[in-house]
Amino acid sequence: MTTPRGSVLVVGGGIAGVQAALDLADSGFYVHLVERSSAIGGSMSQLDKTFPTNDCSACILSPKLVECGRHLNINLLTLSEILSLSGEPGSFKVKIRQNPRYVDVEKCIACGSCAEKCPKKVPDEFDLGLDTRKAIYLRYPQAVPLKYAIDPEHCIYLKKPGRCGFCEKVCPAGAINFKDTPKEYELEVGSVILALGFRPYSPESLDFTGYKRLKNVVTSMEFERVLSPSGPCMGHMERPSDHQEPKRIAWLQCIGSRDINRACHGYCSSICCMQAIKQAVISREHSASGDVDATIFYMDMRTYGKGFEAYYERAKAEGIRFKRARVHTVCPATGDNLRVRYADEEGKIREDEFDLVVLSVGLETDPQVMRLLHDMGIEVDADSFAETTCFRPVETSKKGIYVCGALAEPKDIPQSVVEASAAALEAERLLHVSRWTETKKKEFPPERDVHAEPPRIGVFVCSCGINIASVVDVQAVTDYAWTLPGVVFAQNNLFTCSQDTINQMAETIKKERLNRVVVASCTPRTHEALFQETLREAGINKYLFEMANIRDQDSWVHQHDPEAATQKAKDLVRMAVAKVRGDEPLPYNSVPVTKSALVIGAGIAGMTAALSLADQGFPVTLIERKDRLGGHGRKFFRTWQGQQVQPYLDELVQMVEANDKINVRVKTTIEEVSGSVGQFKTKLSDGTELEHGVAIVAVGAESYKPREGKWNYLYGKNPNVHTLLELDQRFIEDDQGLSGLNQAVFIHCVGSRVPERPYCSRVCCTHAIDQALHLKDLNPDMDIFMIYRDIRTYGKREHLYQKARAKGIIFIRYDLENLPRVSEDSGGLKLEVRDPIVGADITLHPDLLVLASAVRPRDDVGELSKLFKCAMTSEGFLLEAHMKLRPVDFATDGVYLAGLCHYPKPVEETISQAKAAASRAGLVLSRDAVPAESITAQVNLQKCTGCSVCTQVCAYHAVNMDPNTGKAVVDTGLCKGCGACVAGCRSDAITLKNIGNEQLMAAVEAAMEDF
């Protein structure tokens, strides 16, 4: 390969695509992000809350989208599609067509006047048709780019030029362009990442669900919109038929999943169980009365992820009803209600009435996406997902093209984010020699020192076309600004954010020697960065700036009260001026980076992470507490897809040992850690001290051995009782004795999902079933029984479960009230368990009893977490910074996690996570210095009492007690500027730069003057 390109094409603007784009763009690659619709955000933007944290989806997603939209090195191509792709890894040629938006994105100010006047109502696809939008529309309120688009399918003007055209007439910015045409681009990129997501299964063909036949039957995705505050019901939970709040809601699981008869989707959609529980929990929160009777009808409750089982248990405790039953048909009842008839596990018929039925629909690949994959030559599996393998979880059949998110298999947000980073890593690994070759960098003139100058404040009052000016008397506000102390310049602009006004502002700053600037316009959340950049271009520090939000929080919310709105605008300007007066220039903090990594733990995760970084040229120290490499993986026979683990592991070890960038140290642990991102110093048990910019924690976990107690089942007492891993060992050793067995029995959930370990170990169902299948292969006449609680073969693993049943392996369900009883019976083993379906006790006589025992956290993880100031879950696994969107980052910057120490997971997810951790670490290692927050806390030593309130409330361990002075000291590299310490300090000894108490008081007091 000749020198590869330094740019990457990411296809799909959902959370996976956005994450991949950000990872790449932040680590030195130019990204083209192609999105089919008019805005990025994908399916996640349609969700109300997310499990298991109940985070507001829009709240956590929006900042990422905004970042993506503003990124200098991300070229956002919305309304675009791939026409063709050719070339080879390192140099692909891609043809893209961008469909016309008919709205000039440079001019559109997203004021919404156009949509208000547009006479054409069409079903809103973002609300899944539950509501209407106009033919000119914003995909959703937080859309990025925040620009309207005209839907050519429905626009009256575009259909019949000369008619309508209202939008063009009312647009204050002149942004409507009916003459817009499709554009074609030919891009050259080094790699391609496919993040095309999924579409929800449509149950329309399943007549028995009543969908599209009974008004109050909705899909889970539709119900997300019903719950969403920005949805058709504005967050008031309503049912479609009469807009009344439903009091009794049923969720029907596995609609379009685990169904090879009607839906032709044999796989499990992985997310629906948790989504249903979440919706049940949230529906109660949304309900005015709070007494929603929520019932979930399910086959197996698949709460296999981190924090899921606890969420499930909590939901049960809160009274959400879980019925292990399936409803055949949803029937209408009086008053648009719905009646369901179902057999309980004993076969008794029950009937219930509900006000609303939610169908938990599965995920599937959009046929349009299938065509694209086909055209690109990407192989798909029988389920129409992109084909990947356990050892190469983000690689497609075509080299240089990677996949992440639900395109490869149904999965939740965190796993999609992990894979996005992992896919980015693969692109980085492929193209690393061309890092920073195609990226852009912004240069600014040196900044004027304004310390000694008295405030010279300039105020720019925006009319925003008529968005502000039609309500607020902007001239009066401008005149008023002139009268405020320190103001030496004030001006009214039609569009302050337009390029010509921005240029003029920069000139004014220089000409008038302004040293503080206030812009009274829209919201700082979207425009602050733009104006701050203008300050820098004009040669003054960007922190000498404030905004007065006189549009979103004034003219738009007091449309019928111009007088009060004008008064409020004056007040807001006065407050901003009062605050800006106290603003100080702040340094653009950064921390120099030691370009090497420490990886702790040399299992599959650690070795994969180490290789992923070393292959990009970053030196890695890989430490392992044991005397050989391999970790927990040494005990595995094969992946669920059937690939042998030991040969893979041997190869991995060989690659690690042969890599001259990796310094391997066995029998080594960590003693002490100091420093922060970019500059860690770590003392190892061999006495050496290591300097490194980042650390990846991959210390693994252990297998629970039920030597005694309730889950013992004669383990350690009868030689024929094994754990899964012990049976794997016999497989690895090719133990011939196994083929002679008559009866093998597996007990699931041994030590998992029990009071002392209230989490699901995620891997054991699949692992046990795969072992059972292997035993069947060894001896097809062997009788095999699986004694289980819920089978949790999520995603494509469901095929294994189906295969196991097909082969005659018998599954018997038990619960904690009816545990299987194991005893010894004339030398052999005897197991008794009640079969709930036939209602009889079944006695088995296994020659082999296998216990699917829990994966449990290592006991010493707590110490490690303290060293790196990382948090732990109550179960003892390490806790990431954010369960959804930062799944491999710790809250401590520069430290990442991967593998079993995070949560039990199969090999493929471990590998993804290791690669994701490496990608995240690469963001730091790829640069000479990492930016740090400028608005940080600051300690006044005269006032500090050393009482340590600040250190205790700091979530980032950024404030610590200086042992010498006994007073607080802020690590500005860690401080995020939240101000929790400031509010906690009784002595006013700690303050936030430019958001100090005095400044806030000045703003408050200014608000009250002349109100």
Partner: protein, 347 residues
């Protein structure tokens, strides 16, 4: 036969003497009689001989914890800012502590104001201290020249009178409503631990005010503080008020005016009390120190009640347990959040 306090005094002197003689402590902090009856002053015994001046009676009302940081500091070698602290152990100080004082010491330890290793605490389970103002009220504010204390009585004498008073009648309100008379940390005890007191109505004073209307409460509050002369004796007596620059003295930012303007006085009392939230042990020093007889302790008692009710925490009960405002639970009560209560109202 000697009274309980006399026995305690004897034992205290003996223990203090031993500590000083053995060199285990450099000083011992206790009480000695002052020149005025019913006023005990904190006293630092520095020699074994000094120990004999220590006394224990029902007038030991000022919280000794308040004096500890300065006393400990006096035994540290002087050093410049940023200079590392001296290596090796520093001299220790002995101190006598009842329940509330020991709890104050716990808070001081949690807030890095004293080090547990440098304290030798002689614990005494408190029987309640006497409110001098109550005694004076009972004898119609006549001059007192001598007070003789029995186990359950006080004999108050002055020019031309001698009256016997039931001791419990004049015990301070905070002591009467105290449920933790025992020290929670100590190295040695004088007498037995008494155990917790069961007082269902310990917050009755607070509850009475809570039962008033907002208007009446404001009236009560303003009339209570109207005599305040902003002398800050309450603040100075409080072991929790140790900021080098108190917010009342600060001008950047100036949270409160320095005058005795009624608004400023109100804000002073609100913020002073609020700063004690979750930390105050109801030792009563503030009230005992107030020259104007303002009952500001009810303010901190209110905070104590809410912290206990909302978070199940009482200040100073354990060094390990974080202070209530430096920790949280995900399911802390939040009925007061408007968006939550609006939800509730709809129910």
């Amino acid at each position: 036969m000697s009274t309980m306090n006399e026995k305690i005094t004897e034992e205290l002197r003996q223990k203090a003497r031993q500590l000083l003689e053995s060199g285990r402590v450099a000083a011992f902090l206790g009480y000695a009689s002052g020149s005025v009856p019913m006023v005990m002053r904190p006293f630092v015994a520095r020699t074994p001989e000094d120990a004999d001046r220590l006394e224990w009676n029902s007038f030991c009302v000022l919280n000794l914890a308040n004096y500890l940081p300065a006393l400990l500091k006096s035994f540290e070698p002087p050093r410049r800012p940023n200079e590392p602290p001296p290596q090796g152990p520093l001299p220790k100080v002995g101190v006598v502590a009842t329940g509330c004082w020991s709890r104050n010491m716990v808070v001081q330890i949690q807030e890095n104001q004293v080090e547990r290793e440098r304290l030798v605490i002689i614990g005494i389970s408190s029987r309640g201290m006497v409110d001098r103002k109550k005694v004076q009220a009972l004898i119609a504010h006549r001059d007192v020249t001598a007070v003789k204390e029995g186990d359950n009585t006080l004999v108050v004498a002055g020019p031309g009178f001698e009256e016997e008073i039931n001791r419990w009648d004049v015990v301070r309100d905070n002591c009467k409503s105290c449920v933790h008379p025992d020290p929670v940390i100590f190295d040695d005890m004088i007498g037995e631990l008494k155990g917790e007191r069961d007082l269902p109505d310990r917050f009755s004073q607070v509850e009475e005010i809570e039962a008033l209307s907002a208007q009446e409460r404001w009236k009560w509050f303003t009339s209570e503080i109207q005599s305040c002369i902003r002398c800050y004796a309450c603040r100075n007596a409080c072991p929790l008020c140790y900021c080098p620059t108190c917010f009342v003295d600060d001008s950047r930012p100036q949270w409160v005016g320095k005058s005795i303007d009624s608004v400023d006085t109100a804000i002073f009392h609100i913020l002073r009390a609020y700063h004690c939230a979750g930390r105050c042990t109801d030792c009563g020093s503030c009230e005992s120190a107030c020259p104007m007889g303002i009952r500001m302790r009810i303010l901190t008692k209110k905070l104590q009640k809410d912290v206990l009710q909302l978070y199940g925490i009482e200040a100073g009960m354990s060094v390990q347990e974080p202070l209530p405002l430096t920790t949280y639970k995900k399911d802390d009560p939040q009925d007061f959040i408007l968006t939550e209560s609006l939800k509730g109202e709809k129910k």
